[in-house]
């Protein structure tokens, strides 16, 4: 009954607004707000207003599991709320999704712009993904593809570039380890020598002042390529600088990183980044079509806020919100209906703010499984090719 | 004789507890004045206030006519007042000679300092034996000697001694009182707080008897020593 007669519905974002992810989350919120504003604050016949939730706390300075639990309850408790855009961290999603799923008036829809852990939607660890959906209904969707896809695409690309021996590093986070695991597995399968030990390679500690000793060790193994599976924010700049310092430039020993390194002007500005290969699970900002909705949205964003978004994830936030608005507009305005409509979302490439059509498979994963391979040249990401994962 | 130190209507409180309640007294140049009184009478509190470790609640302290109440401790020392405090308060992790050195912290006259150094060691030969021992490991009495010696190193005009004979062996108690007289002869004025009232009255010119934060009696030391009330209460007679 919560939507009875109500024409104003609440849509929310749930992101870490404090600590290390703050900038990224802020620009995401900006993009989402802009999208809603451009839609005139409407989704079909409903008025929509945006509410921002913060899943981080001051004491911890990063996403906080208890805060996620609290937000989950708050989403459900907020009588007019019908959908959540988020979260940024897969761990947080694992706490929120089951609660939204069991919402007595729901389930409530959640669309993420950044969760890449496969287990949220498909079999991965024990009990996954079923344990996140106690009611058996699927209320969770994401507009980015999962870690496993891009790791294997990267391995294949590396082989095609003549790489024989590769050393894998990961940022010790869920995302980085997932990509590293997929890369390592695929690399071994296709006959590359993986110099690092273990299924996910070696973890780097983002709190270390520098990585020269680490690369000195790696140098002794004389790899052809370093695969850095992780997020640039986790001291990736230092890592790349020290890689070049010890192992030489990215022609001598190749460097490759997943989309956790894309869309960072800071990274591209580094002289040491030159020649590095990047992969992206979708399109990096620089790859957005130079015309159409995506280009326009980016231009509008810059005009509205006078700065660039921190990364592609921010624009993907707007894309996720597009999905939500689309679902609401086709729904009867109740939670129980909105989530159902999301499964049938189809946003065409011309309308999508990320320049690619958006639709979901039965798990809630995006059908968009293109992995773009790029190279850093002259301070910009330059596309090399697109690998489509089967 | 000119008045060196003048305390007027001094009150000092620890939070709500008023430990010194409007006492007045004065010390003339070249005198030995003693404050006696039972435990908790406020003697040490008075000395701590003169030295600037506590700020008075009300009242004034004049030193050579200049107001020093409320001055910071180090400024008071600069004016020429040093104290050998109750409980010794030597620097435990420094050696004996470093402690003595600090006694002369504000002085710059190297040769004079060296002379004074010798002088105090002459007075307390035990300290000379132990120049490199960490002060904190010395025996109670040895620490007491050090505290007095250290205060003397400041070569003050007014020396405040808070129970200098506490914990000293009888021979040394004698010695300390002899020393007090000697110091005075060299031109230092002394304000002495003692439990050993008999000995204190013996060397002092004048005395004030403190009780629960107020001056109860005052007068000539020898007169007080023969006063019945005083004898009964403080001299164990």
């Amino acid at each position: 009954t919560q939507a009875q007669g109500a024409t104003t519905l609440v849509v929310s974002t749930d992101l870490p607004l404090q600590g290390g992810s703050k900038d990224q989350s802020d620009t995401t919120n900006e993009a989402v707000a802009l999208l809603i504003k451009q839609a005139g604050g409407k989704a079909g016949k409903y008025n929509v207003v945006l509410k921002k939730y913060d899943d981080s706390t001051a004491a911890k300075g990063s996403w906080d599991d208890a805060q996620c639990a609290k937000n989950a309850q708050a989403h459900v408790a907020n009588r007019n709320e019908v959908a959540v855009m988020g979260t940024y961290n897969s761990g947080c999603a694992k706490i929120i999704v089951p609660v939204l799923n069991q919402d007595p008036k729901g389930p409530m829809l959640m669309v993420s712009n950044a969760n890449t852990n496969p287990g949220l939607t498909k079999p991965w660890n024990a009990g996954e993904p079923e344990k996140y959906y106690p009611t058996g209904k699927r209320n969770y969707f994401r507009v980015v593809t999962t870690d496993d896809n891009q790791g294997s695409a990267a391995a294949n690309f590396a082989k095609s570039e003549g790489v024989k021996k590769v050393y894998v590093l990961n940022d010790r986070q869920t995302y980085g380890q997932g990509v590293a695991q997929a890369f390592t597995a695929e690399a071994k399968k296709i006959g590359l020598t993986v110099l690092s030990e273990g299924a996910v390679g070696e973890g780097w500690d983002d709190k270390q002042p520098n990585y020269e000793a680490l690369f000195t060790k790696i140098k002794a193994l004389s790899p052809d390529m370093i695969y850095i599976a992780g997020i640039f924010d986790l001291n990736g700049g230092q890592l790349v600088k020290d890689k070049v310092k010890i192992l030489g430039d990215n022609k001598t020993v190749k460097l490759m990183a997943p989309d956790g390194f894309t869309g960072y002007p800071d990274f591209l500005a580094l002289p040491e980044a030159d020649g590095a290969y990047l992969s992206f699970t979708g399109l990096a900002i620089d790859f957005f079509p130079k015309s159409g909705a995506a280009a326009k949205f980016l231009a509008d964003y810059k005009k509205e806020y006078k700065h660039e978004p921190t990364g592609a994830f921010s624009i993907y936030g707007a894309a996720a919100m597009q999905v939500i608005l689309d679902a609401i507009s086709r729904s009867n305005g109740t939670r129980a209906d909105v989530y159902k409509k999301a499964a049938t979302t189809k946003i065409s490439a011309t309308k999508s703010v990320v320049g690619k059509a958006i639709a979901f498979d039965k798990n809630g994963d995006t059908l968009n499984k293109d992995i773009t391979i790029e190279i850093v040249k002259g301070g910009a990401e330059v596309g090399l090719k697109v690998i489509t994962v089967k | 004789m000119s008045t060196l130190l003048e305390v007027k209507d001094l009150s000092v409180a620890y939070g709500k507890i008023v430990a010194v309640k409007g006492i007045s007294f004065n010390v003339d140049k070249g005198e030995i004045v003693t404050l006696i009184g039972s435990n908790g009478a406020g003697k040490s509190t008075t000395l701590r206030t003169i030295s600037g470790l506590l700020a008075p609640k009300s009242g004034t302290i004049l030193f050579k006519g200049e107001q020093i109440s409320g001055m910071q401790g180090h400024d008071v020392v600069k004016k020429g007042i040093t104290q050998s405090p109750e409980g010794r308060r030597i620097f435990p992790r420094m050696t004996v000679s470093e402690n003595l050195d600090l006694g002369a912290f504000l002085r710059n006259d190297k040769s004079e300092i060296a002379a004074d150094f010798d002088r105090v060691l002459e007075l307390f030969p035990r300290l000379r034996e132990r120049l490199t021992q960490k002060a904190g490991t010395m025996s109670g009495g040895e620490q007491q000697m050090l505290a007095v010696a250290r205060a003397m190193m400041g070569r003050p005009e007014l020396l405040l001694l808070d129970e200098p004979s506490m914990g000293l062996a009888p021979v040394l108690v004698e010695l300390i009182f002899e020393t007090i007289v000697k110091i005075r002869e060299q031109g230092t004025t002394i304000l002495l707080v003692e439990q050993n009232a008999l000995a204190a009255l013996d060397v002092a010119d004048r005395a004030y008897v403190l009780e629960s934060g107020s001056v109860k009696m005052s007068g000539n030391a020898s007169e007080l020593a023969s006063n019945d009330e005083v004898t009964k209460a403080y001299l164990g007679g």
Binding site: W204, D205, Q238, D266 | K78, P85, G103, F105, G154
Partner: protein
């Protein structure tokens, strides 16, 4: 007392402790020797296995250790004087690094290693030291001074509060993600016996070592140093000696801060990266170094810091080691072992209380 007895007494054995203590010490010694020899075996195996690599990572670790040392000294100085574990110190260092970055790159626009860059670097050294020293004085004045007589834990919590505020400044100034800066120190290296040594390591050494020497001269030889040591042991007694306790404490915070400023600049110039939470991690390591060496002891802080730097370097960079992700665990395990065998830190002296 007979003559014989006196002679006999002259031969009294040096005090060794009770049988219980001796037994315990023997167990500890054995354990210590076993652990130390395991460590030696590990080191020797690695040296034989890859000598050049060993030397290389040793030097890299040593350089990080020097940076830790500059921060650790600030901890130790402040602890030494008012027994406060100043949690905000690491964050002060972070602000120092940020200040230096802005000074060199934004305000003076230097991006390359040339004469102008060099001069700016020297100016930045002085400016960063002044900036952090001044800031530290201000912090002491506003946040800690009123708590002089409060139980130790009160200023400790205040320090946490200050740390939050400094991080707030950091996040506003730097942004929430690591920022990369150009360096004006030369990035080239020279090779000695197959080991690469960066020029900036040499520069670091040339700045850090004189600073350390200067500091130890100040503390052991000057009047100020004397005042510091006296204040550390008994503030009231120090006042009675004519020492201006407040000024002495301010001075201590000033030099602690100045060292953090220097460390900030040197850090920024060797790594080229700043982050708002930089101070947290390095502060933790520096604090650990200070305690490892014996808190309050200047030489101890330097020794502890260099040791931790080297251990981290070896652990990160040797083929037969646990690897970087266990770096923190290795450091703290070693710390705990040393504390067990040497409870007052490497150079600290355990003082027994006299009753």
């Amino acid at each position: 007392m007979s003559q014989a007895a006196v002679v006999e007494k002259a031969a009294v054995r040096q005090y060794k402790g009770t049988p219980g203590q001796i037994r315990r010490r023997r167990i500890e010694l054995t354990a210590g020797v076993v652990l130390a020899s395991l460590a030696m075996v590990w080191i020797v195996v690695n040296i034989i296995n890859s000598p050049a690599q060993f030397a290389q990572v040793f030097i890299l670790g040593f350089r990080n250790g020097l940076l830790y040392a500059l921060i650790a000294l600030g901890y130790t100085l402040v602890y030494g004087i008012i027994e406060l574990i100043n949690f905000a110190h690491g964050d002060l260092f972070m602000l120092g690094a940020l200040f230096a970055s802005y000074f060199i790159t934004v305000w003076f626009g230097q991006e390359n290693s040339n004469l102008a860059g060099w001069l700016t670097f020297l100016a930045a050294l002085i400016a960063a030291m002044a900036f952090c020293g001044g800031l530290n004085i201000l912090i002491e004045r506003l946040a800690y001074r009123r708590l002089r007589r409060a139980p130790k834990i009160a200023p400790l919590i205040t320090a946490v509060g200050v740390s939050f505020i400094l991080q707030f400044i950091g996040i506003k100034w730097n942004g929430s993600t690591p920022r990369n800066w150009p360096k004006v120190l030369p990035q080239s290296e020279f090779t000695v016996l197959g080991v690469n040594i960066a020029w900036n390591t040499v520069i670091l050494l040339l700045i850090a070592v004189p600073l350390l020497l200067l500091l130890s001269w100040v503390v052991t030889k000057t009047r100020q140093g004397k005042a510091m040591r006296a204040t550390a042991q008994d503030q009231d007694a120090a006042r009675l000696m004519g020492i201006d306790v407040n000024r002495t404490i301010s001075f201590t915070f000033a030099i602690g801060g100045a060292l953090a400023g220097a460390a900030g600049l040197l850090y920024q110039q060797t790594t080229g990266t700043t982050n708002y939470n930089l101070g947290f991690q390095l502060g933790l390591i520096a604090f650990t170094s200070a305690v490892l060496g014996g808190i309050g002891n200047l030489n101890g802080a330097v020794l502890g810091a260099v040791l931790i730097g080297i251990i981290q370097g070896l652990n990160d960079g040797l083929p037969i080691a646990l690897g970087q992700k266990w770096s923190q665990t290795v450091v703290f395990t070693i710390l705990i072992l040393i504390m067990v065998f040497k409870p007052a830190g490497l150079l600290g002296k355990s003082t027994t209380e006299k009753v």
